[in-house]
Symmetry: C2
Subunit: 404 residues, 2 copies
Amino acid sequence: MFQINENYQKLPGSYLFSTIAKKVAAYSQENPDKNIIRLGIGDVTQPIAPAIIEAMHKAVDEMGNAQTFHGYAPDLGYDFLRKAIVEHDYKARGCQMEADEIFVSDGAKSDSANIQELFAENSRIAVCDPVYPVYVDSNVMAGRTGVYDPKTQMWSDVIYMPCTAENNFVPEFPKETPDLIYLCLPNNPTGTTLTKSQLQEWVDYANKAGAVIIYDGAYEAYISEENVAHSIYECEGAKTCAIELKSFSKNAGFTGVRLGYAVVPKALNCNGVSLRDMWARRHGTKFNGAPYIVQRAGEAVYSEAGKAQLKEQVAYYMRNAAAIKQGLKDAGYTVFGGVNAPYIWLKTPEQMNSWEFFDYLLENAGVVGTPGSGFGPSGEGYFRLTAFGSYENTVAALERILKL
Amino acid sequence: MFQINENYQKLPGSYLFSTIAKKVAAYSQENPDKNIIRLGIGDVTQPIAPAIIEAMHKAVDEMGNAQTFHGYAPDLGYDFLRKAIVEHDYKARGCQMEADEIFVSDGAKSDSANIQELFAENSRIAVCDPVYPVYVDSNVMAGRTGVYDPKTQMWSDVIYMPCTAENNFVPEFPKETPDLIYLCLPNNPTGTTLTKSQLQEWVDYANKAGAVIIYDGAYEAYISEENVAHSIYECEGAKTCAIELKSFSKNAGFTGVRLGYAVVPKALNCNGVSLRDMWARRHGTKFNGAPYIVQRAGEAVYSEAGKAQLKEQVAYYMRNAAAIKQGLKDAGYTVFGGVNAPYIWLKTPEQMNSWEFFDYLLENAGVVGTPGSGFGPSGEGYFRLTAFGSYENTVAALERILKL
């Protein structure tokens, strides 16, 4: 009789955002008259920018014509997109990356879940706490995390690096040496980040410890402060210790379009085995490229018109972030984030725990947020609101919260 | 110091089609004047059908409008597509599947590579030989295949089920009991298939042995004979032993559009643990849905206009298959397939091995095919030609081959 991968059975409950979606759906069904505003899941609301829409229409037409039809894409992505990425995301910031170090994918979620496959089964992972759940969950499925303690909500074999108000959301170097260090900067969910010099310390640490940093830069477009790096490769020595994952979801509204990329530098290797070559082999074997139409959409992100339109889109969301942050602050809430990221991280009022505040907010204000504890044990007592709603909904949600 | 997944090092050489692409690119560079006809990789050449193009334009417009914009798709796929699949691919053929047993993905290659994750690390896999390389390669990466013997080109822990002219390309039940049985029917690369009653025997065998059949039905649309099943669920008892993987690449030309789906029946479980629930958890954690635009394209495949246009497209390719098959046969070649699948599987002439014939054909006829040995040891001495070229190219390639 066949046997299953028992690691799946270790996962407690369902994926965080699936749980929230189900909870909200149940509440909606019971209260069909209630108008719910969703500032929970980090999904965008603004339409795709005109320059990108135009590029997609053009690509669709190409697909309908025998002379310009595109079948299988190159495994690792079309050159036109990889070159645009190198030029605009790296060269323009002083980072010399090569096109064949860029791997186009169907999104950073897939990449951040799949990247662990390159590493040994007994690799020790370190994560910021709280953090995007996929890093830990994908390692649970691979059997790397040991035993889960429901009381502490911690895995025995995961190194947690608490990021809370107490340490100003700056993770400390762990006591045990990790093999893989997941850094999501600017951070989801706290909306906080590190300065470039703080990040440089992590790069130095990883090179010294022989660890690999998995650097999730999904929110890079929201960085507003000068002393924050837009890519880990701005730090010296990062090419020998870091893989960078990037998303088009948040800078270009591609949550429903699906596009991302991973950067695996040629200089990154383990006893002479190139991680870049391993990732190329994985892409070639387990993936068949992102859609042509979507890769053309990605190219348009870097066009002059695309860049100008997306700058406005990012500003639109950051105006929401500023409104939420200021509004809650004025009302006496303790709030973080919202300066270099589209997330507001707040302390739950009156000693409520995260899920209590989730229910409280849903039932009394009709506003959906995300319980901080869903992102890790150190998220307990915190709550995330996203700036990705429409401005009208954001202001309305804020008013409702302030009336409580 | 971090360590890598050593299983990757066991993979001999690169992914088959990457190797071919590199070989052809090198030849083209050395012989820029040679006009090469590619009947190698199973990539389609005909443009996307008008009904689908129209649906994609409409979906692109929706994405550009705040009122109709779509962000994250539901993890498992949009209801409109899952319902269309249930209706047209199953109900119309007498199979009662439910929409929540259908998992929309970015293609059958990803699904067929990822599905092994659900099973225990020591699962024993059985594959037809020759077969699509992804089944074995993804299991190599997961450490399930033991040691590779370069002489026999076989893995110590894989059960090979030879399918050759000698057994009429019908695999025999293996002597050892497998946990997972990969069946690709109609088969890639041989173009042959099983009758429905032969498939029923495999379903009965799997249920009795406690094995799971991973049924890759990517070429289903090309079935022309009455006694061949279009879905494994046409066989009695398949819901307790089979996962079906389907692709839109070959029936609708989506190789560059990227869409597929997996069917994991609720009745399939291991000691009460539902594989459907495990796959749902994997999708929710490691994948973020296929693009909205692409799922709308998939829906259009099932529209009246879409169905009519695709019927013509399939007929177009099958005319190519018939032309190649008859032409080669008349010239004295021994040929198989081409009746229920868009592949022609031929015996290499004059005792050439598969790669020798690859080089011979490339250098003397400027035609690219795929060496049979690339699909497994029993493919040695065979060669695959695809019917996915344009009619003009197919006829031209055939003429060149016949002149040799």
